[in-house]
């Protein structure tokens, strides 16, 4: 089990994600499995027909958080390499918005690590999605990231 993150690849990209390149990046002779997650743009949201999406990020922090996720994945699972790419800007229906590839000597760790990586990304990486419909646009409902314990908070009024 490698705890090194030097073989990882973490990207924010303005154009189409080269998913084959990410898979090639994590593939080494030590691996018996590569698990990938391809998050793509769905054609509807809560029954409303989606025209396209527009993603924006707090880029410096998003990259830092994505690197933290990769480091956490190495600490938790016996895997080899992680590649994570998130696309920004306008995306059409069916296009890939996020792609994750994890390699490992054995498949169970690769599946678990890939699932952990996308679940954590969705609740802690500062990226936002605006959904465009025929009759308007809305910022997608999201998750409020966990904030470290507030050690200096004032005493409760009670």
């Amino acid at each position: 089990m490698s705890t090194s993150t030097s073989g990882d690849l973490i990207l924010l990209v303005p154009g189409p994600i080269d998913t084959d390149a990410l898979i090639r990046h994590v593939r080494t002779g030590a691996d018996g499995a590569i698990v990938t997650f391809d998050g793509c743009v769905r054609n509807q949201s809560h029954g409303r027909r989606t025209l396209y999406l527009d993603y924006e990020a707090y880029e410096s922090m998003a990259l830092a958080k994505m690197r933290e996720i990769a480091a956490e994945v190495h600490a938790k699972f016996p895997i080899d390499r992680v590649a994570v790419a998130h696309r920004l800007g306008r995306l059409e229906i069916g296009e890939t918005s996020v792609f994750i590839a994890v390699s490992a000597p054995h498949r169970a760790a690769a599946f678990d690590a890939c699932r952990f990586a996308i679940d954590t990304l969705k609740r802690s990486v500062p990226i936002w999605k605006k959904e465009y419909f025929e009759d308007g646009a809305v910022w997608a409902d999201g998750e409020l990231p966990p904030v470290p314990q507030d050690t200096q908070s004032r005493k409760r009024a009670s």
Binding site: Y58, A62, V98, L121, I127, W139, D141, P148, D150, T151
Partner: protein
């Protein structure tokens, strides 16, 4: 802001819907020494009262780390106000 000479200057960033409400993505703000993220947000609410209703549904960050509202500010800090994230 009585003591301007020792004011703390911080960079403030807004994202997502907050950027639209605040009318901009980035701004420099001077605050009295000892100010915390809470007071920084309050200066924006004083100017744009509609921001108040987002207070319970956003998190703050200081220098690219999520930070509690009580976090003290230091000169040159980069503070961001972040709505619920929706990447992926």
């Amino acid at each position: 802001m009585s003591n301007v000479t020792s004011a703390i200057q911080v960079k403030v960033l807004f994202f997502g819907r907050l950027k639209e409400v605040a009318g901009g993505a980035e701004e420099s703000v001077d605050l009295p020494p000892g100010s915390r993220i809470e007071e920084l947000f309050a200066t924006f609410v004083a100017r744009l009262p509609e921001l108040a209703r987002y207070r319970s549904s956003l998190v703050a960050s200081r220098n690219q780390e999520f930070a509690p509202w009580s976090t003290p500010l230091h000169p040159g800090d980069e503070i961001a106000f972040l709505p619920p994230v929706s990447g992926g």
